[in-house]
Symmetry: C2
Subunit: 205 residues, 2 copies
Amino acid sequence: MSAPTIRLLLADDQALVRGALAALLSLEPDLEVVAEVGSGDEVLPAVLEHRPDVALLDVEMPGMDGIAATALVRAKAPRTRVLIVTTFGRPGFLRRALQAGAYGFVVKDTPAAELADAVRKVHRGLRVVDPQLATDSLVAGESPLTPRETEVLRAARDGSTVATIAKRLFLSEGTVRNHLSAAIGKTGAATRAEAVLTAEGNGWL
Amino acid sequence: MSAPTIRLLLADDQALVRGALAALLSLEPDLEVVAEVGSGDEVLPAVLEHRPDVALLDVEMPGMDGIAATALVRAKAPRTRVLIVTTFGRPGFLRRALQAGAYGFVVKDTPAAELADAVRKVHRGLRVVDPQLATDSLVAGESPLTPRETEVLRAARDGSTVATIAKRLFLSEGTVRNHLSAAIGKTGAATRAEAVLTAEGNGWL
DNA sequence: CGCTGACCCTGACAGATGTCATCCGCGTGT
DNA sequence: ACACGCGGATGACATCTGTCAGGGTCAGCG
């Protein structure tokens, strides 16, 4: 009797990318794609139903992001190992993904031939992390922003004025300006727009 | 003698996505991936060497974006038809891609099964464009921004101060403020950060 | 229990932003 | 030849941003 195949679940909101990844992985005789979902909140139900050995999750998905979905899978279906497959190799994403229980973290710059190997390693319980990304993650460190500063900076992402943010968060304009100023200082930026980019780049937002 | 296969070139800076798309398209007996490149400036040399019938180009690539590469292919290798395959279905991208000579425009939300059909249609000389995207493109219209306004707004993308932008573009701060103000007005935004997001969303930047 | 530090909140103020008025050069139409 | 409109440039000024000083609350520690 032949060795059993590794059962896979794919989660990516881009149908074309998801279908292409399924085609790529199905070329391997020992890998079998048993489910595909397009949003984060479909991940756990599909994992519970199909019992994949490895779940390949994108990070940015509607309904729930892949990192939150990873935490759910670890809590409710610990035999399923998670491999994050994402466009943005942000050090903050890596740290949060590992903390949430992901076994591996692959960015879409990776050669296609390496994905199957990454899946097999994760299935065997090994960690798969790009060394450069791990280094960047250690260098960037945890976010220096307080929860409120993070919230105010996130609210500033879309270019809103202080008055608009104040209304949205039920704060005075002075409070909003102070939090923004603190966030600007902590990220080493000159403006709030730059602070947003820096925090996003470091995975702090 | 069997019908000849459709020769394809793939261009996407993400190796994993490119490899996966190659795997997906190679499942079709009448399609053959003859070349893969990872940057925009490799597209034309590869097209001239491999003579693909259809070139599938991403938009955002290093070296040269896929729309500029499309224009080059039309000029230098008119028998190769271009199909844009991109993450962001921006109406501005669609318009510029068609104007540059692309035969089709597919976003990565498209079901994987439709990609091969899109390739076949493009090969036959048919247009492949998402109707919703075409509508959005007509609604958004051409950019109302002057070349200088576009340049100044683009320089403001990274959150730079007016003084920094003035130095970078060799203008006075008053001039920069005036162009930014005009761009804010034309995009209907309240701040420059919002104007940047609006212009990007409409494909004007 | 008192002290300390972190976090959150607020308003005053100097400096930056965005609006407005104005001018110049160039291309187009009459 | 002239008038007009457009794009680009500039500075004055009202408004907004970011910094700073100050106060309140709460958890942790001695």
